[in-house]
């Protein structure tokens, strides 16, 4: 599997994403500068990394979502290219219209960084299939604006159609219906505030994230 990570100014988890992808795939991952206009055709999976693109100024992810590369990302994602956004990457995917809803400031108004327990609410997707019967995982969270919001109709639609893949156990940020991670209708675009890419190393954040990436690898 050939992977790529988009590099926005100050989206500082690009290294975390590259490190995880290279560890799992055993191949070099490509860094794509935000001013590029095209994602290479041979890329099988794109990560929109976390961080503070454009310093979170204006609105988290809003400016990055207007980068030249995002036009092509939207086009290719709509054509079926698997894409995952973590943390700020989730915010960017929402701002780009690839995923519904928005991320508001955490309910307690504070940045939160801790190991976070999550319930896998749909284990039968291209992002979760490798977990088998495993019900719970722990991924680190680290964000200030992770409070997922959408209108009730959208939330119900997401839940009914199995597009909520992860829910928080002990909601850390006030997200609606404890929603932690969602995918688009076609199931190829996924976003979540927690960091599976920081949970692929026993020395750093645990190993619960490995099967997230294995799912994508195996579903190809």
């Amino acid at each position: 599997m050939k992977t790529a990570v988009i590099q926005f100014p100050a989206a500082n988890c690009d290294r975390d994403a590259i490190t995880a992808l290279e560890k799992i795939t055993g191949r070099e991952s490509t860094l794509i500068w935000h001013r590029e206009t095209e994602i290479p055709e041979d890329i099988d999976f794109v990560v929109v990394p976390g961080g503070f693109s454009y310093g979170d100024y204006l609105r988290c992810g809003a400016m990055a979502a207007r980068s030249p590369i995002v036009n092509d990302l939207v086009k290719k994602a709509n054509g079926g290219l698997p894409v995952a956004g973590f943390c700020n990457g989730f915010q960017i995917l929402c701002e780009a219209g690839l995923l519904p809803g928005a991320l508001l400031r955490n309910k307690n108004l504070k940045f939160v960084c801790k190991p976070q327990k999550l319930k896998i609410t749909n284990g039968n997707t291209r992002f979760t299939s490798a977990y088998g019967g495993q019900q719970e995982v722990v991924y680190p969270v680290a964000h200030h604006d992770g409070n997922y919001y959408a209108d009730d109709a959208t939330l119900s639609k997401l839940e009914k159609s199995g597009r909520v893949l992860f829910k928080y156990v002990d909601n850390p940020n006030g997200s609606a219906r404890d929603i932690a991670g969602i995918c688009n209708e076609d199931g190829n675009v996924f976003g979540m505030m927690p960091h599976p890419e920081r949970a692929v190393d026993p020395l750093h954040g645990g190993t619960d994230g490995i099967n997230f990436f294995k799912s994508i690898l195996e579903s190809r």
């Binding site: 100050a10 500082n12 975390d16 503070f52 960084c113 020395l203």
Partner: protein, 734 residues
């Protein structure tokens, strides 16, 4: 402000210059300075920039060693950690701004220390801090804690450098002057370290980063004066941080540093464009000519005076290799940063500034640096205190004593703080504040080795006896690094004291430095960088002497690292070191008996070295499951922290004939470690220790979920945990 203003006595005084200092300026110039020149002398000769009260004492420090590449005198210290890797680190204070405007003060403190590190060619890989606040009940404390923590997190999280550890104390001595000390650790190649000495003649000088505004003018002068009731009026001199620009600046500088375009580079910190240009010129023995019309400006109509003294953040000055200008422009434009060619190096040895077609400053560089005042301030030693016998300090209820300690301001969990810091970004944090361990561990990217980092000082010891306290702060960092299996290498320091013009304060300063230096020598643990913050006084009341130390060590093989967690059911609890029950100046005495008295525990440096080296050897021989430095709160608090970290109980057995009970549990004898070891390791460890002349005692066993002892200790671990966790949130929600 125009340069045509006549320089009066009042103007000189407003610039913080004494009559004698002004006379030297007149003498060196052979004429009256104009306002710009006076402003430049004023900041360069401020305490903050010139170290005029401390310089002669700082010169005593051990600053060399086999791993030292660069000691004090550059932006940060540089050490060699093998394989071509260099670690570049420094700690710096941002006390005065943080008290006046806690969020921006702390945030720009973090930004400033990061720039010191990446200026030298290192990618910042870890942030640490050492914070001191006033007593929890003081009306300002809560909002200061809230603002400082949010500021540290707001800046470090956004830049994407993990904040991996630190320390936080509360004491009424800081009611009027909090301390915010930030430390940054970066990774570079030993063959690609950058320095600030400008070289050559006619080489282009580039300005990069944020535009210059009117913020922070005279910040360095503010940091060199005491506070009074009107200090809030100084808010406009606190700078505003922009971590987004800082992140771009890091990436752009590192990209340019990978080429051969940079001859010299210096960040614009305190005293901004003035100190950066003067330092570059002075170190390189050259002159610098700048055209201020080309300086990117945030506001219209800025005067030369304002531009030269502005402390706007996220700015760098560099001397570029002729012919590489376009390469530099291209990289900075890629990162969307302001960049301008503002001048050249010259052979005049002068700082010459042009503005609006006129020369607005023309002064020799050498006197700014070399002739800066260097005072031998009178210093009076702190009187020795009597030794307090633990037999006079009652402990009737061990349960109440332990709960009081675990829920006390200086011991209680700091979860409320560290959950606001991204501790994991960059994918290499092996251990952080999350474990509650003695030192943070950050892996060298792509390798199986790591640096261990810690910050520490015990101000109550330094106040009671500056010399012993000075020794102690150095050895405690050395022990902390040892506890995670690291070879301690070097330290940075941040020396926070009151008004040096008072002999008793100067006595504290000199005493601490001499104690620190003795420890550095005994442990072969040099000082490679540091910072001095004086005048931490409000209305004549000084802070307790607080020489914060940041220690860095190397874990050569990550297969052999430890921390305080890891005790297993059935493990034996061993104490390395002697327990004489030293209760004087202990935390127990202060928090439970409400007495702040007695001589602090003496530090035996030979013993420290012997014990620490033995513990490190045990870690490398895989003989221990958990290690914890025995410090604040003594044996019982240390053992309890190990129990909480592993979520396992213990049973302690105080041997018959041991010292007084309060001292045994809560005394703070130095050179001690607690170890959790497999039962079958106990005898080999004890017998080897005996052979080496190291006191080692079995004091208990781990197991179950209760904390018990033969003195009536009997507490459920859950109860202890909730007491430990509850204090901080309760303070902040009150």
């Amino acid at each position: 402000m125009s340069q045509d203003i006549e320089i009066t006595k009042d103007i000189v005084a407003e610039h913080g210059l004494s009559k004698d200092e002004y006379k030297i300026i007149l003498d060196r110039l052979g004429r009256t300075p104009n306002m710009n020149e006076l402003g430049i002398f004023s900041v360069m000769w401020s305490e903050h920039c010139s170290y005029k009260s401390s310089r002669r004492h700082l010169g005593k420090f051990l600053t060399t060693g086999e791993r030292v590449i660069q000691g004090p005198g550059e932006n940060a210290g540089v050490i060699d950690i093998d394989d071509g890797d260099a670690i570049i680190f420094k700690m710096e204070s941002h006390n005065h701004p943080s008290y006046i405007e806690p969020y921006q003060g702390a945030a720009t403190g973090v930004g400033g220390i990061m720039r010191d590190v990446f200026t030298m060619g290192a990618r910042p890989i870890a942030l640490m801090n050492a914070l001191r606040f006033g007593e929890p009940s003081h009306p300002k404390t809560k909002s200061l804690v809230d603002g400082v923590v949010a500021g540290i997190g707001g800046y470090g999280n956004c830049v994407g450098v993990p904040t991996v550890g630190g320390e936080t104390n509360f004491h009424k001595g800081y009611n009027g002057n909090i301390l915010v000390n930030a430390m940054c650790v970066g990774l570079a190649s030993t063959d690609n370290v950058f320095y600030s000495a400008a070289k050559g003649v006619g080489n282009p000088i580039f300005y990069v980063g944020s535009k210059t505004g009117r913020d922070g003018i005279h910040g360095a002068t503010m940091a060199s004066a005491e506070f009074d009731d009107d200090s809030d009026e100084k808010r406009p001199t606190v700078q505003v941080g922009d971590p987004f620009t800082e992140k771009l600046l890091i990436e752009a500088c590192l990209e340019l540093m990978a080429t051969d375009a940079i001859i010299a580079i210096q960040d614009m910190g305190a005293a901004g464009l003035t100190s950066s240009s003067v330092e570059m010129a002075d170190k390189g023995g050259v002159g610098i000519e700048l055209n201020l019309d080309h300086v990117p400006q945030r506001e219209d109509g800025m005067t030369p005076y304002e531009m030269m003294l502005s402390e706007s953040q996220e700015r760098m000055l560099m001397v570029i290799q002729p012919g590489k200008e376009q390469l530099a422009f291209d990289i900075f434009e890629k990162w969307e940063l302001d960049v301008a060619h503002i001048g050249e190096t010259t052979d005049t040895g002068r700082l010459t500034l042009h503005h609006g077609g006129k020369i607005v400053c023309d002064i020799p560089v050498a006197p700014l640096a070399d002739d800066a005042p260097n005072y031998d301030r009178p210093h009076k030693p702190t009187p020795k205190r009597d030794v307090l016998d633990a037999a006079h300090i009652a402990l009737t209820d061990v349960n109440a004593g332990l709960l009081a300690m675990m829920g006390s301001p200086d011991i209680a969990s700091r979860r409320w703080i560290w959950e606001q810091y991204d501790r994991h970004v960059m994918a290499d944090t092996v251990d952080s504040s999350q474990s509650g361990g003695d030192a943070a561990i950050v892996r060298i990217h792509g390798k199986n080795k790591a640096v261990a980092i810690t910050t520490d000082v015990t101000p109550r010891y330094c106040y009671a006896d500056p010399y012993e306290g000075g020794k102690q702060c150095v050895v405690e960092t050395w022990r902390n690094l040892t506890c995670v299996g690291a070879d301690p290498i070097a330290i940075t320091d941040c020396l926070n004291f009151g008004n040096p013009e008072r002999p008793d304060i100067m006595g504290q300063f000199v005493g601490c430095i001499e104690g620190m230096n003795e420890a550095c020598n005994a442990l072969n643990y040099p000082v490679v960088s540091g910072n001095v913050s004086l005048y931490n006084e409000t209305n004549g009341v000084a802070i307790p002497p607080t020489p914060a130390v940041g220690g860095v060590g190397l874990i050569p093989d990550l297969d052999f690292h430890t921390n305080l967690a890891g005790a297993k059911d059935g493990d034996v609890l061993l104490m390395i070191g002697e327990n004489t029950g030293w209760i004087g100046s202990s935390l127990y005495l202060r928090e439970v008996a409400h007495r702040e008295e007695g001589a602090p525990p003496p530090v035996n440096l030979k013993m420290e070295k012997l014990h620490g080296d033995y513990v490190r050897r045990l870690i490398r021989n895989r003989r221990v499951n958990a290690v914890h430095d025995c410090s604040d709160g003594g044996l019982l608090v240390t053992a309890t922290e190990m129990a909480l970290a592993a979520d396992i109980g213990f049973d302690l057995q105080r041997p018959a004939g041991s010292c007084a009970i309060s001292g045994w549990y809560f005394g703070e004898d130095q050179a001690r470690y607690l170890l959790a070891v497999d039962e079958n390791s106990v005898n080999p460890i004890l017998s080897t220790a005996e052979g080496l002349g190291i006191p080692a005692t079995k004091i208990g066993t781990f197991g179950g979920k209760r904390l018990t002892s033969n003195d009536g200790l009997s507490l459920d671990i859950g109860k202890v945990r909730s007491t430990y966790e509850a204090w901080f949130p309760k303070l902040m929600e009150s």
